[in-house]
């Protein structure tokens, strides 16, 4: 749980999430062109008026917890649904840009594995 490797994974994931989270408010990354179905899907989420803010706030909150090493198992489980959807979105709607999704997914899964003890009680009954 405290190996250098785990620490590096945790900090890398924290920084990636902080950048993507802040980008949803500040828009400093150039967005790549998306296929029509993906663009339509994104647009439909924007019309809800909350989805991207919610995602951004969760990403930033998770990033801060990971970087400060506070409630790490909770941060990882909070991130899991986002990770899952980032991956599925790219698999089904925009497969050419899937690599960032794969990186985030791998980091999330690997870190949850490292902190598995904290989740054992979820499977008790």
């Amino acid at each position: 749980m405290n190996s250098t490797f785990t620490t590096i994974l945790r900090i890398v994931l924290g920084i990636v999430l902080l950048v993507f989270g802040l980008n949803k408010f500040l828009n400093f990354i150039q967005m790549f062109e998306m296929p029509p179905a993906a663009a339509n899907f994104m647009e439909s989420l924007e019309t809800t008026g909350y989805a991207f803010y919610l995602v951004a706030i969760i990403e930033i909150a998770v990033a801060i917890m990971l970087l400060l090493k506070k409630w790490v198992p909770f941060a990882l489980i909070l991130l899991a649904p986002l990770t899952f959807n980032i991956l599925l979105f790219h698999m089904f709607l925009d497969v050419s840009d899937i690599w960032v999704a794969i990186v985030i997914f791998s980091l999330n899964v690997l870190l949850m594995y490292k902190y598995w003890k904290a989740y054992r009680s979820l499977f008790q009954y």
Binding site: A37, S44, A51, W71, F89, S121, L122, F123
Partner: protein, 133 residues
Amino acid sequence: MKIFHIILRLGLGLLLLAFGFNKFFWLMPDFDFTGYPEAAHLFEAFRFSGDNPTAGKGYIMNMVGATEAIVGLLLIIKKWVPLALVMLVPISINLVMFHVMVNLPNIGPALAVAILNIYLLYRNWGAYKGMFQ
């Protein structure tokens, strides 16, 4: 009190199982989003990944349907209940937010699911303590 909690767990489980299967087989009548264009747009984008059925199949409805069915089943057979409740949280949040933001009149069932979810999380809080160390 014990029977009350069994009823809550089974009730939520059956509700989720029904809504989960509905996202695959569309047994219930379609929702009427007349007058709520954002809701209709979102729903179509989720179901077909586009504005109409020709756009291809979306993944969200199947994923949410599968998650709901699994959570429902776990609650009914009383297996891995704390995990099932955590898996349900993102769905509860988005059910409520969806109805608050784009389709307020039909918020009833969403609120019921969210309140049951929160209450059962609270009842099982011991299982989550390990995550906050």
